[in-house]
Symmetry: C2
Subunit: 103 residues, 2 copies
DNA sequence: AAAATTGATCTACCAATGCATATCAATATA
DNA sequence: TATATTGATATGCATTGGTAGATCAATTTT
């Protein structure tokens, strides 16, 4: 029901929230208006590739075009890079820094 | 100098030609006009994500959003899935089927 | 309770995509 | 040589993204 893949939208939103960014934060850093980001994340817009790339850059993401037959291997890599096991078991850090640490 | 990443455009064109599709073939299969495909491949258009996905689907490609830190690993996988060694040495098939084989 | 954040929504307006169609030069094929 | 294919371009037009604001309900924070 949306122009963009659900997965793509999920990834966008997850990357944003996991960085602790609000839509307004992302807006300030990417130049894309908050109202537009809201529409994008809700799948209500068939955004242009340049916009997607602009958002991705701020979120330390990269846009890829990969052969379908390699998607499982790639997803496995992505999951592990997020610190999540293939089984779906998340690896928790041994300790956690306080809220406001400098980077 | 283009809205879309050079890499993305390269991948598109390479996938098309390696499938033996002309721009008109791709147009017929994807629904995207040939004139538009031409502009897209030359980087002269900031196309919408749905268009990119439509083209990708026909070319057996998938659009991805991956963490930057995993790009090397992913590129390695993609290269190998294309039958190319990490060193850049292409692996040739042991034999080659005739031009007009059924799939 | 009061103030600040957050995401969703709305209104305009402008620029650009995307579509349909046709053409053209260059190359390949009959 | 005549024909067909390929990629690049051109035009006109409708649609939609994108921007710049502002507002609002729901939470959070002070």
């Amino acid at each position: 029901m949306s122009y963009v893949t659900e997965q793509l939208l999920e990834d966008l939103r997850e990357a944003r929230t996991s960085k602790g960014f609000s839509q307004r934060d992302l807006s300030a850093r990417s130049g894309v208006p908050q109202s537009h980001i809201s529409k994008i994340e809700s799948g209500g817009v068939d955004l242009r590739v340049s916009s997607l790339i602009a958002l991705a850059r701020v979120l330390d993401l990269e846009l890829f075009l990969a052969p379908k037959k390699s998607i499982t291997a790639i997803n496995s890599i992505i999951r592990s890079s997020k610190g999540i096991q293939d089984e779906g078991e998340e690896i928790l850090p041994a300790y956690r820094l306080d809220d406001d640490c400098d980077e």
